[in-house]
């Protein structure tokens, strides 16, 4: 029993964080927003880091890592508000296809030549897919209407929900950092607004929700890595905890920014919009609440002090 992210995991995530911080800052988001939303050079950079193949088995040209490793990277993609379809293809599609024994495209995915738009019944749309385009509030998302024949595979849903939750905690981290920096810099009434207790306590409250959502997400990823039989409940818990924490953080961050936060001139809006998108994606709040409710109140899950992990 060791609830601990390994040094390897943290080093890998830190590396991705630093890479994206250096190559995918807000100025890139603004450029993509004015342009076509996607940039092959960014994708190429992710490929050179080996990220598309992160979960591809080693014998098919990948790194053969685990969902928990991927979740940590997904959080960094959220922190950077990454628009390229890395998470969907590499962290959702790959483990889904692999579990189905469908390994045809693995090496093409690992080499970055192929991306996999995912159509699931629970979403009305397909991200980075073909078909009639739909306009998301998030200017960096490319949505197409979902086909009639979209699958309702629950394993795919759990993978999508887990990775959405992981992105959401990274998004919330980024919004918190922006709000804290703004609160230090913006002065009113002769002092930085961050010195006002009301501002401090808004941010502290949102921080508590976020910090207690993170271990829930890591636990859900590990539950899927271990294929424990109630992993779905932990995925739903993760999506709820991460989504609620991100929504609260978005509302807190815009309040701290005041009128500036309501504009396109500070970059906060990119992260707020991504959080709104992912909160509804891969199972909305009520869907996941019902899965937890059925398990906990319905009684199909063992609960209590002796059942933290079993």
């Amino acid at each position: 029993m060791e609830f601990l992210l390994s040094d390897d995991q943290l080093t890998l995530a830190e590396g991705v964080k630093d890479y994206l911080a250096g190559t995918h800052g807000p100025e890139v988001l603004r450029r993509l927003d004015e342009g076509s939303n996607r940039d092959p050079a960014i994708w190429q950079g992710l490929v050179e880091m080996g990220l598309p193949g992160l979960l591809v088995p080693e014998d098919q040209g990948g790194l053969g890592l685990k969902l928990l490793d991927a979740a940590l990277i997904a959080a960094e993609c959220g922190r950077a508000c990454l628009a390229e379809p890395l998470v969907d293809t590499a962290f959702v599609a790959v483990p889904w296809l692999a579990a189905k024994g469908d390994t045809a495209d693995m090496s093409a995915i690992a080499s970055g030549e192929k991306t996999v738009p995912l159509a699931h019944k629970i979403n009305g749309w397909v991200a980075d897919g073909d078909g009639a385009s739909l306009q998301s509030v998030d200017p960096l998302r490319k949505l197409a209407a979902a086909p009639e024949n979209a699958t309702d595979d629950p394993h795919l849903l759990d993978l999508g929900a887990l990775m959405s939750a992981a992105q959401l905690v990274g998004i919330a981290d980024a919004m918190l950092e922006q709000a804290v920096e703004y609160a230090k810099m913006r002065h009113q009434f002769g002092q930085p607004i961050g010195a006002f207790q009301a501002v401090k306590h808004h941010l502290a409250t949102a921080t508590v929700a976020l910090e207690f959502a993170k271990p829930v997400v890591w636990r859900a990823a590990q539950a899927m890595d271990d294929s424990i039989d109630r992993a779905s409940v932990h995925v739903s818990h993760a999506k709820l905890a991460a989504g609620d924490a991100a929504l609260q953080m978005a509302e807190t961050a815009i309040q701290i920014h005041g009128a500036m936060g309501y504009t396109y001139e500070v970059d906060l809006h990119f992260w707020m919009k991504r959080s709104w998108a992912l909160i509804g994606a891969w199972g909305h709040r009520a869907f996941h609440m019902k899965r937890v409710d059925d398990a906990v109140i319905g009684g199909s899950l063992d609960i209590g002090p002796a059942h933290t992990f079993a």
Binding site: I122, N123, G124, W125, A132, L134, Q135, S136, V137, D138, P139, R141, L143, A145, H187, Q188, F189, Q191, A195, F196, Q197, A198, V199, L247, E251, I254, Q255, G258, A259, G261, Y262, T263, Y264, E265, L268, H269, M272, K273, W276, A277, I279, G280, A281, H284, R285, A286, F287, M289, K290, D293
Partner: protein, 387 residues
């Protein structure tokens, strides 16, 4: 306490209901934030004026109907019940109009109120500056007296409607070297005056709406000053009082949102968690409570009372109610919540509503400022400490 409408009030309700049924725009107007939509809304203001429905609470001499606050509430209930457009003239009706009536000379009243009532001139509000937001007394934009003119230099921001409006009003520092609330004057200015540059500020949903105003030695006739020189702060506080007070947000608007939310719930019940279901019930309760409180404040004012810190209670209540109702709607939209437009090309009104609701706790005095006011003026807690 009498909660029955008089036959006159019922007849008035029927009158506005009938007029709206006849005159409502066939299809929803484009957003008030965009140029084309703004002009559509100005047309609507003129349509309202043509029926003498533009400034219902103003005295008849200034182009109003001299309605009392209860009639105003009935008007608003029917207006929002009909789903009528937002008011492009809001700054004029509720902010500048009452201020001119209270502080203006007869000449100023004649000059500014009638065109305002006819919807001929649209007004922009220009309080804030980059360094003076919540702390409005930090205003630095100066208006230097030069004979019978002021010469204005500096910058205003968060100026609502300023992208497309005709005239603006705001506070300027007319006494050189004066500090804080002293030495400010309330001045009206033509937005097309030489030396004024407007820079629309793009809001997070992409539309302009607010604007920055740059003043480069703009000459404004001294007769455009309201009240006397240096009196600006008190005049502005009266205006802000109106703004924060009864009329900024009439209950009908939130009752309409609550009703739409209930309809959305019925259509999307599968997207509702238990807490969301209760939030929908709470939406009706909150909107009704806000309406009762407004009717109660209106009755107090009609009985000769004044509103003070209660305005801050109002501001917090409606802004947090609105955000919470729209947040519930986003949950009920499920995976479609993020769509700006639906497959059929229709706009996701709930997404726009949620985004707009996020500005409620920020503008017209942030809810943090309002809580300070409640604590200090309503509850009598000490001023010291980081306010």
């Amino acid at each position: 306490m009498d909660l029955n409408y008089t036959s006159e009030q019922k007849a008035f309700r029927a009158e506005i209901r009938e007029w709206l049924a006849k005159n409502m725009p066939e299809k929803p107007l484009l957003t008030l934030e965009g140029e084309e939509g703004f002009h559509q809304h100005v047309e609507w203001e003129r349509k309202l004026a043509s029926g003498n429905w533009g400034m219902v609470t103003w005295p008849e001499q200034y182009g109003g109907r001299g309605l009392d606050l209860i009639q105003w509430l009935i008007f608003e209930e029917e207006y929002w019940s009909a789903g009528a457009p937002l008011r492009a003239n809001q700054n004029g009706i509720f902010l500048l109009g009452p201020t001119v009536m209270e502080y203006g000379t007869d000449e100023q009243k004649a000059r500014f109120l009638t065109p305002m009532a006819k919807g001929e001139v649209m007004w922009a509000q220009a309080w804030s500056e980059p360094g003076a937001g919540s702390d409005m007394a930090a205003i630095t934009t100066k208006a230097v007296r030069d004979g019978d003119h002021f010469v204005i230099s500096g910058q205003k921001t968060w100026s609502s409607r300023a992208s497309f409006a005709d005239w603006g009003f705001g506070l300027f520092r007319t006494e050189e070297g004066s500090k804080r609330h002293k030495g400010l004057s309330f001045i009206l200015f033509d937005l097309n005056s030489p030396g004024i540059t407007r820079r629309p500020i793009r809001q997070l949903h992409g539309e302009p709406g607010f604007a920055e105003l740059f003043f480069d030695e703009v000459r404004v006739p001294a007769e455009n000053m309201l009240a006397s020189e240096g009196e600006g702060w008190n005049v502005a506080m009266a205006t802000a009082g109106f703004e924060r007070g009864l009329m900024l947000r009439s209950p009908g608007r939130f009752q309409a949102t609550a009703k739409r939310l209930v309809d959305l719930y019925r259509a999307n019940e599968g997207n509702a968690s238990p807490a969301t279901r209760e939030a929908v019930t709470q939406a009706w309760m909150g909107a009704q409570a806000y309406a009762y409180n407004t009717y109660s404040v209106a009755a107090k004012i009609l009985a000769g009372g004044k509103i003070g810190a209660e305005a801050s209670l109002n501001k917090i209540f409606w802004s947090e109610l609105d955000r919470s109702m729209n947040r519930s709607a986003m949950q009920l939209m499920g995976a479609a919540a993020e769509l700006a437009k639906f497959a059929d090309g229709s706009v996701n009104q709930w997404l726009d509503g949620y985004i707009f609701s996020l500005s409620g706790p920020i503008y017209a005095g942030s809810n943090e400022i309002q809580r300070n006011i409640i604590a200090e003026r309503f509850l009598g807690l000490p001023r010291q400490g980081a306010g």
